[in-house]
Symmetry: C2
Amino acid sequence: MTRYALLAGVAAATLCAAAAASTPALADEGMWTFDNLPIEKIKADYGVTLDSKWLDDVRLSSVRLAGCSASFVSKDGLILTNNHCVLGCSSALSSEKVDYVKGGFRANLREEELKCPGQTAEVLLSITDVTDQIRKAGEGKAGEDFVKARDAAASAAEKAVCGDEANVRCQTISFYRGGQYKVYKFQRYTDVRLVFAPEQAIAFFGGDPDNFNFPRYDLDAAFLRAYQDGKPVQTKNFLKWNANAPKEGEVTFVVGNPGSTERLLTVSQLETQRDLTIPIRQLQSSEMRGRLIEYSKSGAEAKRTAGDALFGLENGYKVFYGRQLTLNDRAFMDAKRGQEAELRAKVKADPALSAKIGDPWADIEKAQVAVADNFLAYRQLETEAGGGSRLYGWARTLVRSAQERAKPAAERSADYSDAALARIERGLAAETPVIAPIEQMRLEHWMLKTREYLTVDHPGVKAILGKESPEALSARLVSDSKLGDPAVRKALWDGGLEALQASDDPMIKFVLATEGQGRALKKTWDAEVTAPVESAAERIAQARFAVYGESVYPDATFSLRLSYGKVAGWTHRGTTVPSMTRIGGTYERATGQEPFALPQSWIDKQSALNPQTVFNFTTTNDIIGGNSGSPVINAKGQVIGTAFDGNIHSLGGAYGYDGSINRTVVVSTAAITESLTKVYGMNSLVKELTGK
Amino acid sequence: MTRYALLAGVAAATLCAAAAASTPALADEGMWTFDNLPIEKIKADYGVTLDSKWLDDVRLSSVRLAGCSASFVSKDGLILTNNHCVLGCSSALSSEKVDYVKGGFRANLREEELKCPGQTAEVLLSITDVTDQIRKAGEGKAGEDFVKARDAAASAAEKAVCGDEANVRCQTISFYRGGQYKVYKFQRYTDVRLVFAPEQAIAFFGGDPDNFNFPRYDLDAAFLRAYQDGKPVQTKNFLKWNANAPKEGEVTFVVGNPGSTERLLTVSQLETQRDLTIPIRQLQSSEMRGRLIEYSKSGAEAKRTAGDALFGLENGYKVFYGRQLTLNDRAFMDAKRGQEAELRAKVKADPALSAKIGDPWADIEKAQVAVADNFLAYRQLETEAGGGSRLYGWARTLVRSAQERAKPAAERSADYSDAALARIERGLAAETPVIAPIEQMRLEHWMLKTREYLTVDHPGVKAILGKESPEALSARLVSDSKLGDPAVRKALWDGGLEALQASDDPMIKFVLATEGQGRALKKTWDAEVTAPVESAAERIAQARFAVYGESVYPDATFSLRLSYGKVAGWTHRGTTVPSMTRIGGTYERATGQEPFALPQSWIDKQSALNPQTVFNFTTTNDIIGGNSGSPVINAKGQVIGTAFDGNIHSLGGAYGYDGSINRTVVVSTAAITESLTKVYGMNSLVKELTGK
């Protein structure tokens, strides 16, 4: 499962194959934007011509979810994605009485489809280049002024494209690490309902142990439906369902929103990730993992509620474990050093270019000192403040939004543009469950780690704890806060700063008293890290364009991309892994014990299922987290699967693509159709998909 | 708290200041052996002459405990150490009815002193150089043969020194990373009883947050007593008690057993620690920490039993966190690279030397490839197999001892020499409690991590799990095994391999079926890592002796050392930390909430205590984990405190000493005397110490 939220502070970058800095992208490499596709190369390599009809149809059939990808697969707004992309919804709709994560969800009638709290679906309508405006806004500015001026220019650009139009969203996205800025305009659906989700035991068969490994046997697929005005959206564009599995070597396209790659960070930035930021993340994450595992043993309800948190945590842990493996690979880092040295030498050999861009690598290395000095406090008191507690998150959102709303729009940061504030308000209004024990655990863990890493005598720690212990303070905040009630949040939103300052809600009081620490640290960070690094990265981007030309693709930025490749297994250290698994193999792998215990439905229907049906398959497509749920499309533009994972080698793809071992893992439409028919009896859904 | 067990596989090494490879030890630097003390330098720096009487008296008063240091402080075998060095004893003597960890332990009469299960006390009697014998044994051999031949030579050397003498122990210890081998002969006491331990709330006031930090306010002191034939040992040599705190700048000697430093590992070895071995250790440790924290919330008994495990885990975690900080310090690593390059250049410039030693740095770097290939499996299936479960440990000890006992002595590894087997038998016979839920947690965690890191399809994982889950298998093994009963263990010991093979104890069956995986991996590890690295390290040691002479001290190897220094605070990043805290400050730091809640006794007696009494103080002595409990001695040879910690900077001391910031943290005899008198009313103990 490759879903994860976008990383804070990760900007876009130009990309170039890790193994070959000066050559164009390798075969099958690249997450290409729709306005710069390697049409000719695809034609040459696979004999497929992607014409504008094919591309428009695919783009307008592609859907962006929060942190995931998806596609329309019927004229009635039916959406195919991964089950792990709808877990938040299944979990939110569950209660002590009914567990849709464990048991799955099946709406046989439209009226049974249930709205997913807070879920949106977005379709890319247009792309507008705004590079010049953004660049100009920052010229001659530095530090916080630089960031603010650019944020303001981005807000203005979004406003110019989206205006006051209803049901659309504009977002300024950076490409080529500041080489380009574009406004992406999306059609936006805010009423998204759950149609079908399988049992977690088959959707995530093999669980964390098999995650990012292959062979796999997972029905990690689910269906949603977009509604507008209470009715299913009528979608002109949708992907035709092909229930036949592809053949070995068949061309495959993956269209979706890869979240973030960092293929062109400098060596000093990669070393900072390797030595500081990833280790701290992983250590704290591991401890929280232990707490959730142990907590989940305390009862059935605890197991259910901890499940979603644990899934996200373990998935993210493995992602960064895989990334760290690559960063700790000496050959890989040596190759990166070689590429950097080569580009620096080429720049140095060109006096005009050299004079124009200066030495951005040295500027970035200098900023790494500021990272080392500030990271722990900035992380604990700002980016990870609250440790993922929803109550804390709402409180801080209310406080910061109110502070920003008190300013004129031009002075607000882009995070609080008018459009952003509207989204924030909707988010606060959504019915989102609060699991008190997990809330308390998250807050307590955050306070404990903040005290541990910053020490007892740090002013930020003193401000948070006073004379209370993390245990007692977190318990008091969670038990006494009323922010779990959307009506309370709405009243505080409407009342603004005055209402917040008058509030006796302990979480509001706590955040009012402590969030200033984080704000001050963010100011320092923006001035000493973000601004100099962004400026330097842009200059490196310019140097790359000058030296290597523009036939490259940008780093992933959770924006719509197309990747191409083929069905293929791989060989590593002498072991060959075939590209396909079949439904029959599932029963051989099952042990009856979690996470290798099949759901009863699959046990009951074993004899009905065709054991030869292709279940999961691997392809050479270049994807990364955020691509989860992406349709896998054949040459005819038909959907033949949904991408739900990468193999363990694909995680290093954050820093570079290796076509010999990086693989996308797909659940086939063949297996989805077979199980919808034989196991779940979802005849009307199958009819909607196949016409039969 | 700096206590930790010796690291597996860590050998000794010559040492040289991290910042100055070619100069002698810096001021106050060094953990000196008693047969090579810098007498002249100490005289020059501090005006103190350490004559042979002073040195013999100090050596024969010094006591080695399991993983800790200590000293005799009365003629009746009274032993001063840290409270954290007796926690294992306090915990083992506790039950659901009485908690000696939380409440402390006070024997007012000799008859009330309670025997600590498994505790031994050792006094260094003599040192015999056996370098030539060991070297010769390995000549012309490689791989496993090399290791075996040397192990056999070491066993023979020990036998030659200790013979069949009762109550002594001989141990071959490596110095200068194979530059020297010596047999240390110890007087050995196996009846060690608990006399006094304070409440954990004051012994470890500030808990993990304050651990390795300063200012500190900890009464981390305890008393044991050595017995022989049921009577207190009459000790000719013991340290005189000085109840007055030292003055700023006063000279201090620390005598004890620093466990392990790695100041002369090569850069490639340090990188392996940084990138592979420490990260994996810390990640798994963090998850276990989260489990123990969450488990400890499930009830009072769970809190008590998890406490000891959690303390050891958190202490070890911080040790490696501090070490990792140093390894991730680019300036530090660059200095190491510079030193290595300098020595290599000097060797290269000397053709005769170069021909003799070859290129051991390249040999070690090559072995790091074998480390990378084998580490995960070797760790999970051998060095960390069982995850710290006592039942597993006993079972494996029984199985492997029986396998080895079936061989002639000459063919056994040193771990199973006759002397070692006698110790193993005693260990198995000791009454050691088994806490079933924690046993199960450790086993389950180990199985989960082994499956995760090696993947489901690894043969070692398949052997361990079969068709069972880690959860079910660990529960079954713990609930059904009878190995918690010493009589059962004794019967299996006496019955040997035959009894083990006939046993239906599930843990014995499990270990018999699975331990071969680890044994095979150890064989590969010894051949591809241990042997070539040891051989190369010896050649580097020879190169160092040739280039820099012999006026250096060896890396720590949990053998008796003397370090010298003075009472001093430090300044770091503009902040000055004074060298002393006073009892009055304890009451200001207290919050009433753990771990800043004082015990009732200290609350009750606040007015009786002199607030000006020096509580803890810092010195420049060069120490490391294993030194915990070491006496801190003044120029007259009197004890003025017991070392219980280092500051956070001292942890990097594993790789190099920095006299400007590395500090030892000491609890003063002044505070011990004051609290024994005013808080605990231990008048007879005070009289034994002071004569008053």
